[in-house]
Every structure is written in C-alpha cells, then in structure tokens.
Amino acid sequence: MSQTSADLSLPQRPALGETKRRGAWWLPTLLTFLGLGAFIVYGTWAAFQGANYFTHDGGADYLSPFYSPVIFDAPGIHSGHSWFGDAPAWWPAFLPSFSPAFLILWAPGGFRFTCYYYRGAYYKAFWGDPPACAVGEPGFRGTKYRGERKFPLIMQNIHRYFLYVAIAFLFILAYDAWRAMWFSQAADGTPVVDGKVFGVGIGTIVLTLNPILLGGYTLGCHSLRHLVGGGLNRFTGRPVRKKAHDCVSCLNRGHMRWAWASLFWVGFADVYVRLCASGVIHDIRLF
C-alpha cells in the first residue's frame, strides 16, 4: 500500500486507557480476566493433585474430565480407567510427581488457547490489546505491533489440529458419561452380584452434560465451519456440505456462550468428582 502512515498526519495515538466512553466498559474485560484466570489457577492445581480424580462412591464409576483419558494411573492408584496400567517408571524423578492429567491436558488446553473466540477475549483481558473497543492501549507496543502475522502468534494457525484431537476427546468423554450410568450397587445400596445396573446419580448428570456442552462448543468451531463447507465458493450440488455448514454455523453463532458454558461445566465436573472422591460429599443416587 503506497500511502504510509507518515504521509497521513494522523491524530495522536490514544494513551493507555484513554477513552471518552461512559459506563463500565472495563467490566467485560475484567470478567474475562477473572473467569479465565480462575479456571487456569484451579485447573493447574487440580492437574497437580494426581489423586481424587475418580470415585466409586455408592457403586458409581465417575472419572474427572481433567484426567480423561487416563493413559497411566498416578503412582499407587488403580482407577480402573487406565489404558496402559500403572504410573510410568520412566517418569523422571526431578519432575513433579506424575499425574495422569499431565499427559492429556495439553489437548483441551491447546484447543481453547488457540480458539478464535478465546484469542480475541484474552488478547483484550490479558494483553490489553486493546483493553476494550475504542480504549487506548499500553504505549510500548506502538507501531511494533505484530498481531498474528509473525511469530509467536502466527502459531495460532495450528488450531485445526487441536480441533481433530478435541473431536476425539468428545468420544472419550461420552464414553465416560456412559460408564457413569452403570453402578455396582442398586439404588438401595445392595451390591449387584454380577455385572452392573443402570442408574443415574447427580454425578451421572454432571458427567453427561459435560460432553454435550463440549460438543456444542467443539462442533461450533470456526475451523470446523471452514472445513465442512466454508472453504467452498459454491454449495449448489453439494447438499451434504451445505447442511453441515449450516449446522456448524448455527452452533458457531453462539460460540462464545458455548465456550463459557462448557468451560464452567468441565471445571465443575472435576470439582464434583473430586469432592466425592475425597469424601467431602456423597453422590446422590436418583434411581
């Protein structure tokens, strides 16, 4: 583009926080900061626990979504959910004690970190880039701003790969919900002799809502919208792709709401399983 900003004699750049906006323009930014901040702090704490991630309370079989899938169990723990058995002997001693969450949390974490909605939200809330619409930015970035054009943020373009993994996780979490529907005790507490009985406890509902909300979030992903049909210029003669694009677009319109609902719920599901597992509360069996 030929005209440089120098030729333009633009008004002075706004100073940090400069705005004539009225009212609580900072509130959405603050809420994002607190919401994401609280989730990250809790999630990190929960990931390092390496315990209380499943419960057989009342014959249930609940697994925390922060630990699913369990590739290896934590040292000395047999959850019955592990794919490859006990804690890995090769886990280096200088690292913090092994937690199954370490092996899997990168996937949902990376998916959300590179999600188009969250990107816009945390650039505002954590970087002040900008702090809110039509509010001045911190001066240090000035004309050195790179956006997502260069390293490091150009890496955000990896998002669709996290999407592929996230879709696999939906199946895994749906299987966990299925397992949460089978109990080794009848609703009155008598043990079942062979096999399990179908039942529903509060935990079953918590763990079933989880993949549903995550599904609403994941299947409304912008990258998915592109892959199923957004990349085409013509839908005529491609009814399946048209339908798929319409469906994803429909979820996509509420992507922000799905993002927050599923984030809250996945955290709550971990809290619930953790409280049951540590005996603080007992799961209530509905039938």
């Binding site: 005209q3 440089t4 009225r22 039509a134 930015e137 997502e148 054009r149 260069k150 592109h226 892959l227």
Partner: protein
C-alpha cells in the same frame, strides 16, 4: 426525555494541527438524533461548525463520528439512547486525518480499495452473456454488500487506531470486501497471497470491535475475517492441505 430538555454537547473543534472541546447547549426532544442536535447548534450558535452528512437515514455513511467515545453514525443515534445528564461528547473519527471539526479525510480508504484485485467472473454461462447463480451461493457475499462505507469499523480497529498500520493493513472494511469477492460463486481470481502479504490480515487479532460498531450489523469478524484466515491456513500453513494439493491440483469452487 421530557420535551425541551437542555443538553450540553461537548464538541471537538479544530483541524489537523490543534483542537479543543467546546460546550454548546441546545434544546432536544426525544425523537431527535445527534445529527439534528449538531444542525441545531450550527443554526443557533456555531455556524462555522463543520460536519459531513447526506442522507440522514443511515445509508450514505458520511456522518460517522465518535459519540461519548463510541464510533457511531450521528444520524442513527437517537437522543433518547444517550445519557443527557452529562455533556455529550462528539468527536471526529480518530483513525483518519482531521480536516476540520467533525470532518475527516477518509481518502486513504479509497486508495486501499483500488489495490484489491477486482471481480473476475468466469465465462458467461449463456450465449447472451449472462450467468446463472443460486441464492445459497451468493448469500455470504450479499451480507458484505450491505456495507455503506461509513468506515466506523476502520475507526475502531486498534490496528489502525492505536498502531497506525495504515501503510500495511487494509482494515476490516476491506477484509469484508475481499471476502465478498473471494466467496463469490462466479469469481475466478485468487486474492489469498495479497490478503496475507499486502492487506496483512494477520494483523487482525479477532477482537471483534469492528463487528460491534458496524451500523449495518455485518458479522465482520466471524463471517468474513475468520473464514479468510482459515483459507489462508489452507493455502500457506497447513502441511496436510499442501500435501493434498500435490495430488489434486487447485480448482476454484
């Protein structure tokens, strides 16, 4: 708002070199819009106050300004949506050079637009030189055609407003223009490289302020910018789509 409320407007007066806020008090009624009040101030107390307008119907895109700090069309901002207990600030757009008072020079936008590769339709479908298209195929482009070129989205975009990347970044208005052409079922041009290296779509960090201020309610970020970013991933960053392209030569459509 009771009939005949006296409201103070704090209007930014000046030119590219210097400016100051001046207070004007005038009587407003509920049906009025900010542009009416500005005209009234011109008639009553500041005949030399410069402002640009044409249609007073939200369709020409010339009365863009910042009202209480938010980019808005003066002719579409009703007085009864504003808190009038405090002075109402009215400023010109901050992202373009000021000519005088509320009038800015937006010609930079026209320069940007000229550089976008124009519409290049495929060969006509019928002998009379006409084409056949389906509604479902032009729908996406049509949303972007609603644009009235008010440049409020350009004004609010922090890449231009705060970082002054006018020399490198096309801004949301022209990203939707490019999307409109790129997604058009008849178009055969390829603008992705231009989009990446000249219009620098990568500067956009999808913070959606453009979408928020658009008076035509165009879903700029979600329906134009992000889909274009995804097309760029296909073309330049995703190793898998690149690999597939070796086997399947790129075809538009």
């Amino acid at each position: 708002m009771p009939e005949g409320t006296k409201v103070t407007f704090r209007v930014s007066r000046g030119d590219a070199q210097s400016s100051e806020f001046k207070d004007y008090t005038t009587e407003v009624t509920a049906g009025m819009v900010v542009l009416d009040a500005i005209h009234q101030i011109q008639a009553e107390s500041a005949p030399d106050l410069a402002c640009r307008w044409n249609c007073k119907a939200g369709k020409c895109g010339s009365c863009s300004a910042e009202i209480n700090g938010m980019p808005k069309l003066m002719c579409m901002t009703r007085m009864d949506t504003i808190d009038t207990t405090q002075p109402v600030t009215v400023e010109p757009m901050r992202t373009f050079p000021r000519i005088r008072d509320l009038v800015t020079n937006v010609s930079w936008n026209y320069e940007v637009k000229k550089k976008i590769k124009p519409f290049k339709p495929r060969k006509p479908d019928a002998e009379d030189g006409s084409w056949r298209m389906h509604q479902e195929d032009v729908e996406r482009s049509q949303e972007f055609r609603k644009c009235i070129e008010c440049f409020l989205c350009q004004d609010v975009c922090h890449v231009l407003r705060d970082h002054h990347k006018h020399a490198e970044f096309a801004g949301p208005r022209f990203l939707i223009h490019t999307a409109q052409l790129e997604m058009h079922p008849l178009d055969t041009e390829d603008r992705l490289e231009q989009l990446k290296d000249e219009q620098n779509i990568g500067y956009c960090n999808i913070t959606k302020c453009c979408t928020k201020v658009c008076p035509e309610h165009i879903t700029i970020t979600d329906n134009a910018i992000i889909p274009l970013k995804e097309r760029i991933v296909d073309e330049f960053y995703d190793p898998l789509t690149k690999l597939f392209r070796i086997f399947k030569p790129k075809k538009k459509g």
